[in-house]
Amino acid sequence: MTDAAAALAALADPTRRQIFERLASGPRAVGEIARGLPVTRPAVSQHLAVLKSAGLVRDQAAGTRRIYEIDPKGLGTIRAWLDQFWDTALASFKDELEGTKGNR
């Protein structure tokens, strides 16, 4: 939940939102992302760092460039939590049914 909140907070900045939306169409290098934006390239790099720490984007090196893309695992904070939660809950339910007290 906290991660999801962090992700949304990171997107509260309009420039970061623009950057994020640009990445929606596919991976891009920093220079490509910065093109046409009313901020300097170092500023774009800083915004990308914030998006990355919020789990929204990930990057990888391609020669001397860094390629950024949307991190598909970032979305799933709530989903991942629920996924794990239901595993625990159902295992506990099974124990209740089949444990010593549960046997008929």
């Binding site: 929606a24 970032g74 939660f85 809950a89 549960g102």
Partner: protein
Amino acid sequence: MSARTIRPAPVRKSITVKTDAARAFEVFTGRMGRWWPRSHCIAASPQKDVVVEPKVGGRWYEIGEDGSHCSWGKVLAWEPPTRLLLAWQIDGNWKYDPNFITEVEVRFTALAEGETRVDLEHRNLDRFGDKIDDVRSKIDSPNGWGGILKIYAEVAEADV
């Protein structure tokens, strides 16, 4: 980017238990407080019991050690011993919200030799995002968040 709405995939779980469907249903609903993980209560007071009222429209709530009730949701479908549909109304901020509904469907299928398969699906998970959107939209431009979350969900789902 297409305009279609893409949603995060539901959480789906299956488990097989060594009992008949009627008893599985009964324990799932009638003795939820016995098996519900204690670490997952939202009330201020420690959890003493979890109650699912056995009827459509029945409340789903937690009882604290201090006797306080804390709503979690309600019963949308009550079809013993085969199907239960609960409204999970705890939002992404850990608050009960009567206007927030995600569905938890539980199906009990009798197998051979006294075994029952329990299939659980927790869906409408995109609404957790919508909910945060509601809060944030007041300090942001209209349509901003929903679109972003949809883009995000689409990309995330495509990569699964």
